[in-house]
Amino acid sequence: MILDIYSFSTLTHSINKGLNAVMSPLLATIVELVIVGVLFLMLYAVLGLFLVYLERKVCAVMQNRIGPNRVGRWGMFQTIADLIKLLMKELIPIKRADQFLFNLAPFIVIIASFMAMAALPFAKGLQAIDFNIGIFYIIAVSSLGVIGILIAGWSSNSKYSLVGAMRSGAQIVSYELSVGLSLLSIVIFSGSMQLSTVIASQADGWWIFKGQIPAIIAFILYLVAGTAEINRGPFDLAEAESELTAGFHTEYSGIKFAFFFLAEYMNMFIVAAIATTMFLGGWMPFHIGDWTGFNHIMDYIPSIVWFFGKTFVVIYLIMWFKWTFPRLRIDQLLNLEWKYLLPLNLMNTVFISFIVLMGWYFK
C-alpha cells in the first residue's frame, strides 16, 4: 500500500541494525532508550510551548482581539519568553509547608502525564511502547496525576489551596469513570485494548463512522468527561481565579508553577490524542468505502500529519468550550457526572455490547 512510504518502521529498523552492529545488544538497547527519552522530552517541551501559544491566539480571536504579536513574528516566541521568566523567578519558600511533599507534587503531576504520552501512536511505526493493554495503561497512569494535585493542596498549608485541591480531587476521581467507560465502548467494538490493533481496525473507516450512533454518543461523553478530567473548560472550578485565586497551585512560583502549567496543557494534548486514536482513526487517513481514487489521494498525506491534524481539531473544540461557557459549581459538576453521564455511559456500553454480538455495525 502507498501508506508504507510514510512508515517510520524502516527508519527505526535501520537505526536498530546500525547500533547492534557497532556495540553489544545491551548497550544498543540502552542507547536506544536514551534516544527515545531525549526525543520525548523535546517533544513534550516543544508541544507544551506551542499549545500555550495556540491557546492564547485562539482565545484572542474569539474575544475579538489579536493576542501576542510582539515577541517574534506573530508572537511566536512569546511562550519561550514566558518560560525564561518563570525559570528566573524566585522560588518562594513557605515556612510551615511540608517541604518534601511541597517539592514532590509538581514532579508527580509531570511524571504521570509523561508516562501517558509514552504510549501514544504518533504515526505508522512511531509508537514508543505498544502494550497489549495499551489503553488500560494510559488511563491507569494518567490517574496518578490526582495524587500530585492532592499533595500540592495539602502541603501548601493554605486554606485556599486545600479547598481547591479537595474540589479537584473529587472531580477527577468521579470523571475517570466516564472516561473509562467511553473508551471501553471502542474496546468492545475493536476487540482489543492494544492501540496499534485499534488503529489497524480503523483502516476501512473510523470508529465514529462505523459505530454510528452509539459511537458518536460515546465520543461526546468522552469529550465532556475528558475536559473535566483535565480541570479545563466549564469544569475549571479548582483554579477559578475569580473565586479562590488559583486553587491548589496558589503557593507555587517559578519553575514549579511552570510544571503544573505545562502538565495541564500536555494533559489536554493527551486527552485529545486518545480521542483521535480511539474514535477518529489515529494516524489512518480518511477513507470513504470504495472510492479508491479519493482514498489514494488521502493516502498521499503523511500519517503523522493526519494524527496531529485530528488532534489539533479536538484541541480546538476543547478550547472553544472554555472560552464560551460559564463555570459549573462543584455540586452541579458532580451531579452531572453521577446522575447523567454515568448512567448514560452504562446504558451505551450495554447497547454497544448487544450491537457487537448481533453484528449490527459496519465491519
Binding site: M62, T324, P326
Partner: protein
C-alpha cells in the same frame, strides 16, 4: 463595650473556617473585604468590612461651594456619574427656584440614559467574567467604548465628566451628539440578541443563577434595596416613576419588575432595562429642541436660603438621595448622600447564608456593587 468588641472579633474562632475574600480580589469589584465563615463549601455567615476607600466626601462638601461639590459627586458611583451630578444640580435649582431651559433637561436625560446603558453593560461583562464566561468581558467593553467615544467628543473625558452643574451644563454638547447617539442605538440593538443567546439562554448559566440568592419583597423593602436589585424582587422603587424629575414625566417607558427575586431575575431586569433605555433615548432625541442654549442665568456665588432640602434621583444602581442643610452661606452646613450601594451591600448576608462560595460570587455580582459609593 470593649468585651463586646472582642467577642465580635473572636466569633469566628469557634469551629468556623474563616476565609477572607478581599480587599484585593478579582471578583469583589473594588476594595471590599468579605469575611466568610464556611462549613466545608457552605457559607454560614458573611461579614462585609468596608472603609478602605473612605474619602470623607461629606466632610469635604462642608468646605466647598455648590459648584465645587459636583466634582466630588462624580467620584462616588463613578459608573453613573451624570446622575450623581444631576442630583446635586436639581437640588440647588429647586431650592433657588431656577427654571432651566427645556433643551438642557433633554440633554441631561439623554446623558443619564446613556450612562445607564454603559453601566449595565459593564455590569454584564463583569458578571459573565465572574461566572467563568471570560469572553463576555471583551464584548461588553468593546460596545461601551462607543458610548465613551460619544462622551469624549463632547466633554473631553471618558469617565468622570462633572458636566451637569447647577443652572444647566458646563458648555454645549458637540454638534455630532444626536447623530452619534442614534448610530449607537442602531449598533447596539443588533448586538443584544447575540448576547442573549450567549449568556441568557445558556443552560449552565441558568443552573448557576436560577433559584440562587432569593430575596422576597419584604426583605427588599426592609433593607432598603432599591434599583434593579430591588425591582427583581417586585419592589416598585423607580424614582423616575415615583417622583419624576426633569422630563421623565413626559416620556413613556415601563418599569421592569420581576417577581422571583433570585439572581436570574435581577439579571433579566438589567438586560431589559437596557432595552427600555434605548426606547427612552429614541423618544428623547426625537423631542429634543434645537438651539444652543445650555444654561440658565445664575449668580456666580450660589447661596441657598436657610432650611433643609432633599432630592432623589434614580442612578443605575438604585435611589440616590442628597440631603442638604443650609444656613444661608455659600457652603452647605451639612451634606448627606444616601447612596444605593450602601443599603444594597448589607443584604448580602441574608442572601448568601446557606449557599456555597460559588453562589456568593454570583449573588454579589448580581447586586452590582460599586464600592466607592458605599464608602464615600
Amino acid at each position: 463595650m470593649s468585651e463586646e468588641i472582642i467577642k465580635n472579633i473572636m466569633v469566628g474562632e469557634h469551629e468556623d473556617y474563616l476565609i477572607n475574600m478581599g480587599p484585593q480580589h478579582p471578583s469583589t469589584h473594588g476594595v471590599l473585604r468579605l469575611e466568610v465563615s464556611l462549613n466545608g463549601e457552605d457559607v454560614k455567615k458573611v461579614t462585609p468590612h468596608i472603609g478602605y476607600i473612605h474619602r470623607s466626601i461629606e466632610k469635604m462638601c462642608e468646605k466647598d461651594t455648590y459648584k465645587q461639590i459636583i466634582h466630588l459627586t462624580d467620584r462616588m458611583d463613578y459608573l453613573s456619574a451624570h446622575m450623581n451630578n444631576e442630583a446635586v444640580s436639581l437640588l440647588v435649582e429647586n431650592a433657588l427656584q431656577i427654571e432651566v431651559p427645556e433643551r438642557v433637561k433633554y440633554i441631561r436625560a439623554i446623558l443619564d440614559e446613556l450612562s445607564r446603558i454603559a453601566s449595565h453593560h459593564l455590569w454584564w461583562s463583569a458578571f459573565g467574567m465572574d461566572l467563568g464566561a471570560l469572553t463576555t468581558f471583551f464584548y461588553g467593553l468593546r460596545d461601551r467604548e462607543k458610548i465613551l467615544a460619544i462622551f469624549e467628543e463632547s466633554f473631553g473625558s471618558r469617565l468622570l465628566h462633572s458636566f451637569i452643574t447647577p443652572g444647566g451644563l458646563m458648555h454645549d454638547v458637540h454638534s455630532n451628539f444626536r447623530k452619534d447617539t442614534l448610530e449607537f442605538i442602531k449598533y447596539f440593538r443588533k448586538k443584544l440578541p447575540e448576547y442573549k443567546s450567549l449568556l441568557t439562554d445558556n443552560i449552565i448559566f441558568h443552573q448557576r443563577t436560577k433559584g440562587v440568592g432569593k430575596m422576597d419583597k419584604k426583605t427588599s423593602v426592609a433593607y432598603g434595596v432599591t434599583g434593579p436589585s430591588g425591582r427583581g424582587s417586585g419592589f416598585s422603587c423607580d424614582v423616575r416613576k415615583i417622583a419624576p424629575y426633569g422630563v421623565y414625566d413626559q416620556i413613556e417607558f415601563n418599569e421592569i419588575l420581576k417577581n422571583d427575586g433570585d439572581v436570574f431575575s435581577r439579571y433579566l431586569v438589567r438586560m431589559e432595562e437596557m432595552e427600555e433605555s434605548m426606547n427612552i433615548l429614541e423618544q428623547l432625541i426625537d423631542k429634543m429642541p434645537d438651539g444652543n442654549e445650555y444654561t440658565a442665568k445664575m449668580k456666580a456665588i450660589v447661596k441657598l436660603p436657610e432650611g433643609e432640602y432633599y432630592q432623589r434621583v434614580e442612578t443605575a444602581r438604585g435611589e440616590l438621595g442628597v440631603y442638604v442643610v443650609s444656613t444661608g452661606a455659600k457652603h452647605p452646613y451639612r451634606v448627606r448622600f444616601r447612596t444605593p450601594n450602601f443599603s444594597n451591600l448589607f443584604v448580602l448576608n441574608n442572601l448568601a447564608k446557606g449557599g456555597k462560595i460559588a453562589d456568593l460570587v454570583a449573588i454579589s455580582g448580581s447586586l452590582d456593587l460599586v464600592i466607592p459609593d458605599i464608602d464615600r
